[in-house]
Chain length 349, copies 2
């Protein structure tokens, strides 16, 4: 009988952060592609676009005028999925099948730069540090609101990721409940901490730094790697080395190194297919419920959809939706490809 | 304080099948859309396409020639994500962070019709009944293979759902483990059954038939509805009324009524935006591990991505990936829209 070879044979891997499996089919990477091709938006844009509602000085959908901002700029989302209003609620008697409850929250948009035509890897380090300091401030401020227990910072980059405006920006949705993915992660981190008295992600990072197989970039304070259990072809995670549970606790040196690894990782992404690489990214960190959370560690996920070229993406569809996430290329192979790429952006070479 | 209004206020709903919440933002349906528009493939296709590897008589990627089939036709997937080979495996000592195990399985393609240019709602009932009988046969046959414990039947329809060939077809991935989504569903159904001595989905169906708000179509043996906890804008579920745990147990009358509701539901979908409506669908049913599964009930999910028109879809991206699934339109409103549509296909009117 053939001996199991993780680089060759179909297998499942386990994600201890959310307690779910992923199906890996390394042999399937050779599959030809005759399906939909993505059109990646032409990225020759002007530095200022008079029709963009995020550019400085322009008018937004609700009639407000953006200031002549020069670094990052934050405003309340004009079409927020959450509202701040407190709602009076009595639990219904039918709670097995029709269980619902009102949800309060605040959503904001964070413009990364006044310039309409650049993205993270093309920004200078000072600009990226400024974005990080804005995230720190927002996490702290929103976290202090009495009914806010979680602050989700994220970015949708590229039209293929549902981003409706190419002006560099991210969002923050802060709310009273722990969202589903956070609750799952929280339960796993907590169970591990209670059992082992140590932090799951710090222990994992130690093993990854020993194995070296899935590391992309390492500096004094941060590591970028492809998690063993990644589902997206070039999924990555940025993890901090010190036991920091949330972004607000990073010191100046850490902010600088976080900016550096963000710039380098996103430059490698763009270099992979010489395109403005689409992704959704998001920071997972401690809830803002006023408790200490030693089980948590700051980390940032990148979920990019591209698979084989600037126009062929991985579809998480039928089997993936009904059964289980599935990937073709192994995490090790993806990590190697990203590691071997230059961290200098192809456009500036 | 404003009283909670489920049709107006942001809220979360609970899905008892997988124990997860969804964020619902009814007020957000007015959001303008400036982002990516989908190009829905032109559906004027020939009945026979000499370049299609699924048409009768044509050659597939592996060199095999398709027979001159006249109804449905099944073959092994040439680029299977799973392999039948048995793999020798020793659990590694590091099982917290690098947990992996080989997975055995069989994947097949099911061509629905020799005609290249029609989809389910345009087929006659006899053809759809034939497809259902093929699914019955495959479930039974694959389920009998000693190492197969779950048979996932699904369809990706439309290029936007990663379907690489418009020839009407679905797939079957049968494997030794319960895939993640099935395991979650199984655990919920089992816990409910053990606690209440009755079937969760049958009890839910009863409540839905009383409430009437989310029902789209009902016949003697089946109901099509928008689940209370739906995440996709026009997500639906077909449920059977009798306590049948898997597709093979449907009698001739049930097969006929299942064909009818499939045709009517997919015709309503096409009528919604007068387009060939993309979706991923899949059947969830009892595992094939040789046990009785009274906790299970046959049901079929439809996850369609379109939101507002033939070209604007819902993106499950940043917040949804990092936090929780989110929808704008309520399940009740979607159900009403689908219910009010004709079940006669717009092209045949
Ligand atoms: O097998 P196909 O149709 O080529 O591929 C499609 O369906 C599969 C099963 O859902 C997915 O894994 C692929 O990403 C998708 O493109
Ligand atoms: O808020 P935006 O950028 O208009 O919208 C985008 O991001 C949101 C948060 O992930 C999603 O709910 C939307 O489906 C997506 O199009």
């Amino acid at each position: 009988m053939k001996k199991f070879d993780i680089y060759e044979d179909p297998h499942r891997r386990f994600n201890p952060l959310i307690n779910e499996w992923v199906l890996v089919s390394p042999h399937r990477a050779k599959r030809p592609w005759q399906g939909q091709k993505e059109t990646i938006a032409d990225d020759s844009r002007p530095e200022y676009d008079p029709t963009c509602y995020l550019c400085p000085g322009n008018v937004r959908a609700n009639g407000e005028v953006n200031p002549q901002y020069t670094s990052s700029f934050v405003f309340e989302n004009d079409f927020a999925a959450l509202k701040q209003e407190e709602i009076d609620f009595e639990e219904s008697s039918e709670t097995t099948f029709f269980k619902a409850k009102p949800e309060r929250g605040i959503s904001r948009v964070v413009c990364f730069s006044p310039k309409h035509n650049i993205t993270l890897p093309e920004m200078d380090l000072a600009t990226i540090e400024d974005i990080i300091r804005t995230w720190q401030k927002e996490y702290t401020e929103l976290g202090k609101v009495d009914y806010i227990n979680y602050v989700q910072i994220f970015e949708n980059k590229g039209s293929v990721m549902g981003c409706s405006n190419p002006h560099p920006h991210g969002q923050i949705w802060a709310q009273s409940s722990l969202p589903t993915q956070i609750e799952k992660t929280h339960n796993s981190l907590k169970a591990y901490y209670d059992k082992n008295g140590s932090n799951l992600l710090l222990d994992y990072l130690k093993k990854e730094l020993e194995a070296k197989e899935r590391i992309i970039i390492e500096n004094d304070h941060f590591v970028a790697l492809v998690p063993f259990w990644a589902i997206w072809p070039f999924e990555t995670m940025i993890v901090c080395k010190r036991h920091v549970t949330n972004i607000a606790d990073f010191n100046a040196e850490e902010v600088a190194e976080y900016a550096l690894i963000l710039k380098q990782l996103t430059a490698k992404y763009d270099n992979l297919f010489e395109t403005s690489f689409p992704y959704s990214s998001g920071i997972h960190q401690a809830p803002t419920d006023g408790q200490a959370h030693p089980e948590w560690l700051f980390h940032m996920h990148f979920y990019p959809p591209l698979l084989r070229s600037a126009s062929v993406k991985k579809f998480m569809v039928g089997y993936e939706m009904m059964g289980e996430s599935q990937r073709d290329i192994t995490a090790e192979k993806s990590a190697q490809m990203l590691r071997d790429l230059s961290d200098v952006h192809y456009k500036t070479k």
